[in-house]
């Protein structure tokens, strides 16, 4: 049996799963839409991956990341649960040694990670606004009836990008509509939008950060060639899109699971066939004090596995 590691990254828009071998190379990867149902998506995704991989592989470590990491970690039996910023940094430095800047744009958030000598020295993440992220691009693509996969190609065909306001998604959209009603063609508007998003990213997330080459551009949005070109233009340097740009978070989680497995023993991974198990979460408001914490309960096949959300730890302990 060959050893392998599983990484699962469940974000707002996509759910990514990868299986790595001992050396850290990707054996298989899946990029799925979360569609608001993280539990079912992970169950189905795991089953599909289990069918695909070599039956001689033995998963000896599993990691979870992304905004649903705690929930998913319990569902799959993850050995390590890590935030997506650290996971992305781990994956990037494994793929490109000596990387100094990581640009990551996902469905709901965008981040910049600054690395020096293989260590994260600074990072930033968008705080109150999701302009410039994948969801906004999705929305604009469907408004223009262009498949999101072709969005970038349109931008590349533009000769004269139109200037689009980039500060806020709502401003950007109304500006795009104004320009479209004046008769500008879609290519120029889309290219303009890409430039506006990059400006917005640099002014918000990238503000005050020292951006040095090599720069890696990852996350689902890196599929958009128009954005890659806009970054190259604005930064005055080549940004690199790694081969598995869309599942880098999951790769990071799998690499962290490999580190974990090297130190500790038996994995808690429940296997690929968990679609038969019923997972359920319910919540209630604690009446113990004026804080009125919202306590979430997690059930596996009707059995209470965990509780969280209470500030004082009272319910959490009772569940254990």
């Amino acid at each position: 049996m060959k050893k392998a590691y599983l990484g699962v990254d469940v974000g707002s828009v996509s759910t990514n799963l990868v299986v790595l071998d001992e050396k850290g190379s990707v054996l298989t990867g899946k990029y799925l839409r979360t569609s608001g149902k993280p539990i079912a998506t992970v169950q189905e995704g795991l089953y599909a991956i289990g069918q695909e991989i070599d039956q001689n592989l033995n998963i000896v470590g599993a990691g979870a990341t992304g905004s649903a990491r705690y929930l998913i970690g319990m569902i799959i039996g993850a050995d390590i649960i890590k935030n997506e910023i650290t996971a992305h940094a781990v994956a990037a430095s494994a793929v490109a040694r000596g990387v100094k800047t990581i640009i990551e744009i996902g469905g709901q958030d965008s981040k910049i990670i600054i690395m020096r000598n293989g260590v994260v020295t600074d990072f930033a993440m968008n705080t109150v606004c999701a302009a410039g992220t994948g969801s906004f691009l999705d929305q604009q693509a469907s408004r223009l009836c262009i498949p999101i996969e072709d969005f970038g190609k349109y931008a590349l065909n533009s000769k004269n990008p139109v200037r689009i306001a980039g500060r806020c998604a709502v401003f950007a959209e109304s500006d795009m509509i104004h320009k479209q009603q004046l008769g500008y063609n879609s290519e120029d508007i889309i290219a303009g939008l890409c430039e506006a998003l990059v400006r917005n990213y640099m002014n918000n997330v990238g503000k005050g950060k020292e951006i040095l080459a090599p720069v890696l551009f990852q996350g689902g949005v890196a599929a958009n060639q128009g954005l890659v070109t806009a970054f190259n233009k604005l930064l005055g340097m080549e940004v690199t899109v790694p081969p598995h740009y869309d599942v880098m978070g999951a790769i990071g989680a799998a690499l962290l699971a490999r580190d974990w497995a090297a130190k500790k023993g038996q994995t808690k991974f429940k296997g690929f066939n968990i679609q038969e198990i019923s997972f359920k979460t319910t919540s209630f408001e604690c009446k113990g004090c004026s804080n009125a914490c919202e306590v979430v309960q997690f059930f596996e096949n009707g059995e209470l596995l965990a509780r969280w959300g209470d500030r004082c730890g009272k319910w959490e302990m009772q569940a254990v």
Binding site: S67, V120, T121, T127, R311, M317
Partner: protein, 366 residues
């Protein structure tokens, strides 16, 4: 009169005692909740910052509970918070509320106004000046004792073995402090509280990171406004110290507040006119935390807060020069704590990796 005031952390315990012993009835403001936020957002200007909205909601809740007067603080700009009480009063009147907002400006600004308001409270409560001064003294002791217990809890929490032990012990200690009426009782309750914390089962083998918390006063002081940041970090195994404690203004501490010193420290980075709020403090305190060997700093800023935005744009050079990472969190209406948690976890990872690689480097030198 039925008096209430803004909710800021545990300070209400001392202020409640103060109001009651000045011959008035105290309406204890409820801890800001979703309801407070809903009320505040509904009746505040859209572009006001989160402290304005939370206070608006608090005042309306206090009125519902019977309050007639709100005691609060003013300020002399350039931060717009100095004008907030005027705005609150105006909005309340517009809604047809009878609530009266009374703000104490810094005494040096208008000593007569300060004196007038103080006398009004004393006279309407029918207490003598002698009694008034005595009550002030005891209140001050209470504020200090409350802060002592809280400061100690943030040092102890990263060592706790059972999550929540520290938080529950703090609640018990504060109950005792709430009952104390004399200076000696306060001292006793304080010592008992500290002892209670010290006796909790803890893992002394841990070596917690140290993070300083800086930023705008309200979001720094009111845990419900900052997602209980210090408790969250404590439970991740981090010791925290915040730059602002109510008792800190007049007390000697390693990280000083408000005084001249902080302006001197910040001077190489900001030598312009005063930018208001706690902007200059944020710059100076970052430097002080670096000098005191802290591993990192978290800056808390209400969304759209000008002083903190100015500080934020200067902090990267401070951070570089003093080699101390700073994470800025902007706070607005969002109540989901997942986003804050992700950023804090990543920040803690960053600090831990830095510490490891520094230790590694030190070992190589030896």
């Amino acid at each position: 009169m039925k008096i209430s005031f803004p909710h800021m952390g545990h300070s209400f315990i001392a202020f409640k005692w103060l109001v009651e012993h000045l011959g008035h009835e105290c309406i204890v403001p409820p801890e800001p909740s979703k309801k407070t936020l809903d009320l505040g957002v509904r009746y505040s200007p859209e572009f006001a910052c989160i402290p304005f909205k939370i206070l608006m909601g608090t005042y309306l809740e206090a009125e519902e509970m019977g309050a007639e007067v709100i005691l609060t603080s003013g300020g002399c700009g350039p931060c717009r918070a100095g004008y907030y009480w005027v705005m609150h009063q105006y909005l309340l009147e517009e809604m047809g509320s009878k609530l009266k907002v009374v703000a104490f400006e810094p005494p040096m600004l208008d000593i007569r106004d300060f004196w007038k308001k103080l006398s009004w409270i004393r006279k309407s409560g029918k207490v003598s000046w002698k009694h008034f001064i005595e009550v002030m003294k005891i209140t001050w002791e209470k504020i200090k004792a409350i802060d002592d217990v809280e400061i100690h809890s943030h040092e102890i929490r990263p060592y706790e073995i059972n999550r929540g032990d520290t938080t529950r012990a703090v609640a018990r200690a504060l109950e005792q402090l709430d009952q104390a009426d004399t200076i000696s009782q306060i001292k006793e309750a304080r010592d008992a509280g500290v002892k209670l914390l010290d006796e909790l089962p803890r893992d002394r083998g841990r070596n917690p990171l140290k993070i300083g918390i800086i930023g705008e006063i309200y979001v720094v002081l009111e845990p419900s406004a900052n997602h209980y940041l210090q408790i969250m970090l404590g439970e991740m195994g981090v010791q925290t110290h915040r730059s602002i404690y109510l008792s800190g203004y007049a007390r000697e501490s390693t990280i000083s507040n408000g005084g001249e010193a902080i302006y001197q420290v910040a001077k190489p980075y900001l030598d312009e006119l005063c930018i208001g709020g706690h902007g200059v403090n944020s710059i100076g305190e970052t430097i002080l935390y670096a000098r005191h060997g802290f591993d990192g700093v978290v800056q808390l800023a209400p969304f759209s807060c000008i002083p903190e935005i100015v500080a934020k744009s200067i902090i990267p050079s401070v951070s570089r020069d003093f080699d101390i990472p700073v994470l800025t969190l902007f706070i607005d209406e969002q109540t989901g704590k997942a986003g804050v948690q992700t950023r804090l976890e990543a920040f803690v990872d960053l600090l831990e990796m830095r510490r490891q690689s520094k230790e590694e480097a030190a070992r190589l030198v030896v």
